[in-house]
């Protein structure tokens, strides 16, 4: 039990105080197929009072699991199987449930990824705020309510006096995430675990939440573990960063030092991930665009979602359609494919108008336009073998059979950099996310298309995997003279792949042009907001941006 005082004594330095949390050789096991498998392999972690530690890694790195272990908590189907978790003189790995319950909420608090799911739909927000302080005997209900309103105001929530009396579903996502941060703060804990708090949000909302979190953590000198997969986000938030991979620590260091001089190759790759940039190709003069959207308006039932949308996709070029959720970019793709016939306007293919409904389009038209989806999990039939997934368009469109078909499937697999012998007889469920997306690309290529619509094809993937997919798509474009319409919300992806950019907001095209121009000011206001909201690796980026935006952000009152 003397562990804390010993370790705390000699090592404290600078403005940071004593050691608050220390994990030693933490091991966590997860249950899969009736047996326990280790998913975190002996990780050490130290956190001082008031320090913000970033835990970063791709999916499966074990970062969220470690974050929760800091509260002595393991999810259903997981267990802490070894090591020590010392928090203020208590080993949470061995502490009784009652001891842990006293600490949770009062001295260690948690902010979940999805605020919409983590608030109880049956209670008012302020009741949920007050629950922990009243329960732990920190504040009376009356004082807790007053404190809540004060905190809501500090987090720049609109109508701080009354917003707490709403129910969770009556408040927007970005606000809800700030309400949850307020709730975590309610007992003024020593430590808050943030578990991907901004991942589910749009970029422009993400900034507001990041700013709020950074601000509040500083004000109360709260220590934090900030779990995320996005190095640029963590660069803004953390004093120190731990890079995780496959349940092991890869590298640990001060934020600036690590960003400037990563020691491990893996960290370097993560840092370089946003640097991929394709050189912009100019639109060929006078040529008919392969795909043209002409004054398209569309509605779901009676709700109009697209208003007079027009743009071109030139031959052998990539057009990125950018916008936040609800901007109508995916709906545009549905109109182009013929799944949602437009109420006005039409689609032209090589100058010819296409029938509005895909069922009226000839087979050869369907063949020449292929689609790749955001979620490779749902885009591949889990009961089909890769042979059948890629083989079907070959026999359906091109009439290939037997040996010819087999040879072509193997060619396509080689093309997407998967070893044919290893993969041809696998089921889709036996592949990783990136491999599945490659199979989807092969399936689209099998039809020998002229244009491929890519709907957020990299956003469900880890960054390094996503980069591989982007490189593959660029290579294939050169090899087969493909045209892409590339839907994305991520401007780093735009930089990586686009020749031209179309910015959409609320179902309208707000700006369109060559990529070079789009990344140079002056812009339409919205384009400007969107572009400036994309986090950069520079740790000072957020502070600088907030200073620049100044009152402007508060005036928007989001």
């Amino acid at each position: 039990m003397s562990d804390r005082s010993q370790s705390g004594a000699g090592e404290s330095h600078g403005a940071q105080g004593d050691i608050l949390l220390r994990m030693k050789g933490l091991r966590i096991e997860g249950r899969a197929d009736e047996q326990w498998l280790e998913i975190v392999h002996g990780v050490d972690l130290t956190l001082r009072r008031g320090e913000v530690l970033g835990l970063i890694g791709e999916s499966g790195a074990g970062k969220s699991t470690i974050g929760l272990a800091a509260m002595g908590y393991a999810r259903d189907g997981c267990r802490i199987s070894g090591g020590e978790i010392w928090f203020d003189g208590v080993d949470l790995a061995k502490a009784s449930d009652a001891t842990k319950r006293k600490l949770r909420g009062s001295r260690i608090a948690y902010v979940a990824q999805s605020a919409a799911a983590a608030f109880n739909p049956a209670h008012r927000l302020i009741d949920q705020y007050c629950e922990a302080p009243v329960l732990h005997g920190v504040l009376s209900r009356h004082d807790a309510e007053a404190a809540a309103k004060d905190l809501y105001a500090r987090l720049h929530l609109p109508q701080p006096e009354t917003i707490g009396f709403r129910y969770p579903h009556q408040v927007s996502g970005g606000q809800l995430q700030r309400m949850m941060t307020a709730m975590a703060m309610s007992c003024r804990p020593d430590l808050i675990v943030f578990d991907e708090p901004t991942t589910a949000l749009d970029v422009t909302t993400q900034i507001e939440v990041m700013a709020a979190i950074k601000d509040i953590v500083r004000q109360f000198n709260t220590a934090a573990i900030y779990v995320t997969h996005d190095l640029a986000v963590v660069a803004q938030m953390a004093d120190r960063i731990m890079v995780m991979r496959y349940g092991d620590l890869v590298e640990e260091g001060e934020t600036r030092a690590m960003l400037d001089h990563p020691k491990q190759e893996y960290t370097g790759q993560l840092l370089a991930v946003r640097e991929l940039a394709k050189e912009e190709a100019k639109r060929p003069e006078g040529a008919t665009p392969v795909l043209a959207v002409r004054n398209v308006s569309a509605a779901y039932g009676k709700v109009p979602v697209l208003f007079d949308v027009s743009f071109d996709v030139p031959k052998k070029r990539t057009v990125a359609v950018v916008g936040e959720s609800g901007s109508g970019k995916s709906t545009t793709a549905r109109v182009i494919t013929g799944l949602l016939p437009p109420s006005e306007g039409h689609i032209e293919f090589n100058g010819e108008p296409l029938p509005a409904d895909y069922r009226q389009r000839p087979k050869d038209h369907l063949r020449r336009m292929q689609m790749i989806y955001q979620m490779p999990d749902t885009a591949l039939n889990p009961k089909q073998r890769i042979r059948d997934v890629i083989g079907r368009p070959l026999s359906f469109y091109l009439g290939l059979q037997g040996k010819q078909k087999e040879a072509r499937i193997r060619d396509l697999l080689a093309l997407i950099e998967l070893e044919p012998d290893d993969y041809i007889d696998r089921l889709a469920t036996e592949l990783s996310g990136g491999q599945k997306q490659r199979i989807c690309i092969a399936r689209a290529l099998a039809a020998e298309p002229e244009v491929i619509l890519c709907d957020e094809v990299t956003s469900a993937l880890d960054q390094l995997v996503a980069e591989g997919i982007l490189r593959l798509l660029i290579r294939l474009q050169d090899e087969f003279d493909l045209s892409y319409m590339f839907i994305t919300h991520d401007l780093a992806t735009v930089k990586a792949i686009a020749d031209e950019v179309v910015v959409m907001q609320n179902g309208r095209v707000v700006e369109a042009g060559p990529k070079g121009e789009m990344f140079q000011p002056p812009h339409h206001d919205y384009t400007d907001l969107l572009l400036s909201s994309v986090p950069e690796m520079d740790p000072d980026w957020l502070d600088r941006l907030l200073a620049e935006r100044g009152e402007q952000l508060r005036d928007r009152g989001i």
């Binding site: 009736e34 369907l366 689609m371 885009a379």
Partner: protein, 281 residues
């Protein structure tokens, strides 16, 4: 195919005792039903002892004889053939109607779905036993009528399930891929939807069988199902029910035969559901 057998064996090895029990009992029922004349000591309607013996009174009649002197064991064995056979056929018909309609509703959507769903809603708003009694009053009680009535009434539940699981698959992007490729309705149902819903449908088949089987037994018990002198478990209970007031447990045997089979099928289905869908029931 060796791996398939191997996998099946691996699956069975992890099965809980209840599932093993269920599998073994169901197999015994099937064998007995198929080879009834071979197992039964006496004929189905053969009157062997008019005295009406109780259980254990005679070595010749293991489970005693019924109120008019037929061997109860023989009648239970023949009953397996009649009761289980008819329930199985009825379940098949139920499934054929329900699954086809449900999948069509899921894949086609629109007005086809609307019309079918409204019909099913209405049918389901009336309690099935009451509805069956009403219809059987009109069309008269016969085996064929009973099969048709129960199949139609119960297919509503298969429809609901097939439609629901079908819908879950239809919204998947891979189905959209197939549609945009220009595939026909049959291909989409056969290759994209069906393989992904076979597990819940198989489990539902087991559950529907139990329901249909109990339903027929109840109807027979009420005197509105299989008619005498056919050996049938439900009507056997009804015919012999007076014996119980004389302290004879005889009517409990055919009733237990019904219960044992349903329990066993339920055990197997429960395990299967748990295995295939991770459903924590």
């Amino acid at each position: 195919m060796a791996t398939a057998t191997h996998n099946a064996w691996k699956l069975f090895k992890t099965a809980p005792p209840t599932a093993w029990f269920g599998l073994i009992v169901v197999s015994i029922y099937v064998i007995v039903a198929l080879l009834a004349p071979f197992f039964a000591p006496y004929g189905e309607t053969e009157i062997v002892d008019v005295a009406g013996l109780g259980v254990g009174d005679s070595e010749k009649f293991l489970l005693g004889t019924d109120h008019i002197g037929r061997d109860v064991l023989s009648r239970i064995i023949y009953g397996a053939r009649n009761t289980v056979g008819i329930a199985f056929v009825t379940t098949l018909v139920t499934f054929l109607i329900g699954a086809v309609a449900g999948l069509l509703a899921a894949v086609l959507g629109g007005w086809v779905d609307q019309i079918l769903s409204r019909i099913v809603d209405t049918l389901m708003a009336i309690p099935p036993l009451i509805f069956a009694l009403l219809i059987l009053t009109i069309v008269g009680t016969s085996v064929l009528n009973m099969i048709i009535v129960i199949a139609i009434l119960d297919s509503t539940r298969v429809f609901r399930l097939a439609r629901a699981v079908g819908m879950n698959v239809v919204v998947m992007d891979y189905v959209e891929v197939a549609k945009l490729r220009g595939e026909g309705l049959w291909w989409i149902i056969r290759y994209e939807v069906l393989p992904n819903i076979s597990a819940p449908l198989a489990a539902e088949f087991g559950l529907r069988f139990c329901f249909v089987f109990l339903f027929i037994a109840s109807l027979s018990f009420l005197g509105l199902g299989l008619q005498p002198p056919t050996a049938d478990w439900g009507s056997m209970v009804r015919e012999m029910s007076t014996l119980i007031t004389f302290g004879l447990p005889t009517p409990l045997f055919p009733a237990a035969a019904v219960a044992l089979l349903t329990v066993s099928v339920n055990f197997v289905v429960d395990w299967f559901l748990h295995k295939t869908s991770g459903l924590k029931t």
